[in-house]
Symmetry: C2
Subunit: 367 residues, 2 copies
C-alpha cells in the first residue's frame, strides 16, 4: 500500500483519479441494461486492469470477465471470476502453458480464428487434462481478426472435433461502427442480418451456438437491437473517456476518470505546460477528426494541443481564467484504457476526498 | 529476477530486445565524440530507465545523469551517479520533499524557468540544509519551457540571490530543429548567435555560466559546432529508433532496440496481425510525415499501418515472403523511450542468444 492523503489537494501529480459516484452509476447502468434485455455481461477488464473493480462488476451480475493477455488473466484470478474469456488468439507453447495454469483455477474460454490456434490449444488442454471453451471469431467488418462469416461453420466444426475443446459459440467485434449516425445504424442492421445467417449455418451444422458474444462501446446501449447476440463485452463503460463522448455513447458527466496535473510553466504567453505528457496520457488521438489529447474539466475551451513525454502543451488563448505555476487541472483523457496502463496507482475520489488507492495490477501485462 | 531463456526463440512475446553489440557501439561513439570535443556528457536516462545502463554511461565518462521526474531520480541513485540533473521544473511541496531525500544521497541540480519554482526550491533546500544547483532554462525556439533569452540574466540574478541555491549556468533544448537540412543548419547557426548573447549578458551580470547545457538527438553529433555549449544531455543515442533514423542522426544499423512479436492472425489476405499494439509500441507517430508504427527488420517493405491496444496491423501486400500464425518478427519502434516505459522487462541479446534481462526500474515513475 501507499500513504493515502485524505484530500485531492494533497495528492502529488500527475495522478489518475476515478470519480466513484460516476463510476458506480456507470456500473449500475450497464448492469441494469443487460439485465433488462437478458444479455450476458462479460466486461473487458483491459479498461481498469484492477481485480477489485472486476469483482464489483461480478457482484453486479457479470457472468465472467474478458481479457486479452494471459498475464492479465492471471492477475484477474484475484477477482475469483466465475469464468474468463481470453478474447485473443493465444499462440505459442509458453503462453499456452501459462494459460493452462490459469485454467486450473477458473473456467477458461478462448476466441480464435485459425485451425493452427485451435489445434495448439487443444493439444495444450489435452496435455493438462482440462477442457477449454472455444468461440469461433468472426470478422464482421473491422478486418482485424476473425474468419469470414461464410467460413464460421467450418471453423466451428473443426473446433468441435478437437479433443479437450468445447465449442461454445461465436465472438466478434464490430469496431467498424464508430458512431450511431445513419451509416452506423445501417451497419448495425447489417450486423443483425449477418449474425442471423451465421447462426442458421451453425444450426444446420448441428452446432447451435450457446454464446453469441459481441458488442462495442459506441453501440453498447443498442446491443439488444442486434439479432442473435446474447452476450456483450464492454470495457470502457466503467469510466468512459473523451472518445466515448465523441462516439455518442455517453455525456461528459459520465466520464469517471481524469488526470490531475500541475501547471509547471507559463513562460510562453497564451500557453501553459503541465506535468504530464505522453507517458501520462498516452499519445492516442481522438477517434473522430477532433484535435487534442484531453478535455480540461474546468476549462473546456482550453486546447491540449501537443505532448512530449513529460510535457503537456495547453493552449489557453480561448480561456477566460488565468493560470499560474502550481495551479492544478483535471483532464479527461482521449483513451482511458491506455492511460490506466501508464499509472502504477490510481485514486478513487468522492468530491474532494480521496477514498481509495488501487494498484493497477494488470498494467503492462503484455504477454 | 525472471527465468532467462538462452535463446531469443524461447522468449515469450511481445518482448523488447536490446542488441548489445549495437548498444555498446552507440555508447562508445557518444563517449568518444564528447571526449574528443571536450563536451560534458550528462545522458538523459528517460530512454533506458535502467540504473545498470546508466552506470555503463558513467563508466564511459558521463559527468552525471539527466532525469525528468523525482521518482526517476530516486531510481537512478542505484547507479551511484556523480551528479543528477532534473531537467524539469519541480513544483509542489511533496515533490520537493522527495527531491531533498534524493539530494541527501547525490548532488542535485534543477533546471527551472520561473521565480516561483526557484523560490520554492530554495526554501525546501534551506529547510533540508542542502545546497542545490540551478540552471536557468531558456527557450531557444521550441516554445515549451524556458524564459526568453533576453530575460536569462534576470532569472540568473534571481537564482543567485536565493539561499541554498547555487547558480550553475543555463539549460535549453533545441527541439525545434528536427533534422539538419539547410533550414536546420541555419537554426543551429542562429542558436550559436543566441547563446553567445546570453553568455555575454550573464558575464556582464557577474554570473558567468559554468554549465551551458543543451543538445538534442537530431543535432547530437554537431554539438561541437554550437558556440558556448559545453554540455549535452542526449538520451535516445543509446538505442536509437525509427525517428532517430528519420531525423538523419543515425542509420538503421544503429538501432539497438526492437520488439519481438508473434503473428496471431492472417485471416485477412494481405495483412497480418501481431500480438503487440499501442500497449507495446506506444501510439507515437513518426516525427516526419512518414506513416506507420515501426519497421520490420527482416521485411522493411511491410507497413505497420494501424494499432489497437493489443493488435498490430501489418500490411504485407508489398512483401515477398509469406507469413503464418506463429511466425515471429522484430520491429524497430518509432519512439523507443515511450516503448521502454511500457515494458516491465527488456532483454539484452547478442546474435540469437539472450545474455541479460533488465527490469525497467524507472518505468511509470510519473511523479
Amino acid at each position: 500500500m501507499i500513504a493515502l492523503p485524505a484530500k485531492i489537494a494533497d495528492l502529488d501529480t500527475p495522478a489518475l483519479l476515478i470519480d466513484l459516484d460516476i463510476m458506480e452509476r456507470n456500473l449500475r447502468r450497464m448492469a441494469d441494461y443487460t439485465a433488462e434485455h437478458g444479455l450476458r455481461l462479460r466486461p473487458h477488464t483491459k479498461t481498469h486492469k484492477i481485480p477489485a473493480l472486476a469483482r464489483q462488476q461480478i457482484d453486479l451480475g457479470a457472468v465472467g470477465l474478458t481479457i486479452a493477455k494471459v498475464g492479465e488473466a492471471a492477475v484477474m484470478l484475484a477477482a475469483d471470476p466465475p469464468d474468463l474469456l481470453l478474447a485473443y488468439p493465444i499462440v505459442g507453447k509458453r503462453k499456452l502453458d501459462r494459460l493452462m495454469e490459469v485454467a486450473k483455477r477458473a473456467p477458461v474460454t478462448v476466441s480464435l480464428d485459425s485451425l493452427t490456434v485451435a489445434r495448439e490449444l487443444s493439444e495444450a488442454a489435452a496435455a493438462a487434462q482440462i477442457e477449454i471453451g472455444a468461440l469461433a471469431e468472426i470478422d464482421v467488418g473491422l478486418g482485424r481478426v476473425g474468419v469470414q462469416p461464410s467460413d464460421a461453420a467450418d471453423l466451428a466444426r473443426n473446433i468441435a472435433q478437437l479433443p479437450s475443446l468445447r465449442f461454445e459459440g461465436i465472438a466478434f467485434y464490430p469496431g467498424h461502427i464508430k458512431t450511431l449516425d445513419d451509416e452506423g445504424r445501417r451497419a448495425l442492421a447489417a450486423l443483425s442480418t449477418l449474425l442471423s445467417g451465421v447462426v442458421r449455418d451453425l444450426k444446420q451444422a448441428g452446432l447451435p451456438p450457446r454464446i453469441v458474444s459481441g458488442g462495442s462501446t459506441p453501440t453498447m446501449f443498442h446491443s439488444h437491437e442486434v439479432a442473435e447476440m446474447n452476450e456483450i463485452r464492454p470495457g470502457t463503460y466503467i469510466f468512459n473517456d473523451r472518445n466515448t463522448v465523441f462516439s455518442g455513447a455517453c455525456a461528459w458527466e459520465d466520464c469517471a476518470a481524469s488526470i490531475l496535473a500541475t501547471v509547471v510553466s507559463t513562460a510562453k504567453p497564451g500557453q501553459m505546460i503541465i506535468d504530464g505528457g505522453s507517458k501520462t496520457f498516452s499519445s492516442d488521438r481522438p477517434v473522430n477528426n477532433d484535435v487534442g489529447f484531453g478535455r480540461l474539466i474546468n476549462a473546456p475551451a482550453a486546447v491540449f494541443t501537443k505532448m512530449n513525454e513529460e510535457h503537456g502543451f495547453i493552449d489557453i488563448h480561448s480561456v477566460d481564467e488565468s493560470f499560474s505555476v502550481g495551479d492544478r487541472v483535471r483532464i479527461i483523457p482521449n483513451h482511458v484504457c491506455v492511460a490506466m496502463n501508464l499509472h502504477e496507482w490510481v485514486y478513487g475520489v468522492r468530491g474532494n476526498s480521496v477514498e481509495q488507492a488501487w494498484r493497477v495490477e494488470g498494467r503492462g501485462k503484455l504477454q
